[in-house]
Symmetry: C2
Subunit: 143 residues, 2 copies
DNA sequence: TTACGAAACGTAAGTACCTACATAAATGTT
DNA sequence: AACATTTATGTAGGTACTTACGTTTCGTAA
């Protein structure tokens, strides 16, 4: 790749992200927002401000570690605001930034649609042509 | 868990999914749609019908294996239609089902917003308080 | 007759994710 | 003087995701 092409890539990336390009920063942002816990954190924070433990209780199945990590990613991207009261024992409140609220709208829309269309989706559900190494996704439904 | 509770869970799940519940099937659907390649596959298929290789060229960085796997998941959930012409060499076309088109709308909306807001997002970008095991997500931007 | 094409499948190896558990810190309580 | 509280961090280890590479099929081109 020539320097000119590289520069053009930079410009393209800055002007308007292109998630189809492997090196575009938008890929990372997309990953943060659509990560396993990222979606759920955003969806919950869209309903208000929460403390760490409250957030964790709200989202079934997150470990402390993953929640902390996810929150840091979202904070790093400017979607989540973290307010530390500097007290001991620690008190920290999480909420969405204006940017985060806009992003959350899309995620809430998606999640809400899935929840509503779940019946239809499960009806159309097929065993999926076998690929041998079929990764069972999430938990194998302990229920 | 008692049989009654199990039945109640089934009813809850069928009536309306709840992604905040760890065992709800909607979690799996959400994961498929928001998986690393799932989002991109849906976004591309929202623009038309593609053959396997064309889809792969369109989405930068997917391996054959991952694309095939992702397509099978989405087909299993009823979002993607697979048309096999049974020829040799193989010819297979992928497109969205009506259900898939609805889902894709939300994903395209999200992706489009990210691409457009990327400048603003990168501006607000902070190094993210260190958590030592900071997973660099995707590639560290080789460009 | 040999090489090529297109869409997977199989296996092995690498990497990243995720969980579980132990640790820290200042104050108020027992 | 011990102890519980709350939000993390560090480490170790398992699990799942990804990639790389080889294999299959069989008409068509060389």
């Amino acid at each position: 790749m020539t320097p000119a092409q590289s520069a053009q890539n930079m410009l393209d990336a800055m002007a308007r992200g292109n998630v189809l390009a492997p090196d575009c920063p938008s890929r990372a942002v997309l990953q943060h927002l659509t990560s396993r816990w990222g979606v759920l954190v955003m969806a919950v924070l869209a309903t208000g401000t929460y403390r760490f433990a409250a957030l964790r209780r709200k989202i079934g199945g997150v470990s402390e570690r993953m929640l902390a990590q996810t929150l840091q990613q979202l904070e790093g991207d400017g979607f989540v605001h973290r307010k530390d009261y500097g007290e001991v024992p620690p008190r920290v409140e999480y909420s969405l930034t204006p940017l985060g609220e806009t992003a959350a709208q899309h995620l809430v829309g998606l999640v809400g649609w899935i929840e509503g269309a779940l019946g239809e989706i499960l009806s159309a559900h097929q065993p999926a042509r076998d690929l041998s190494a079929s990764p069972d996704q999430t938990a194998p439904a302990s229920a």
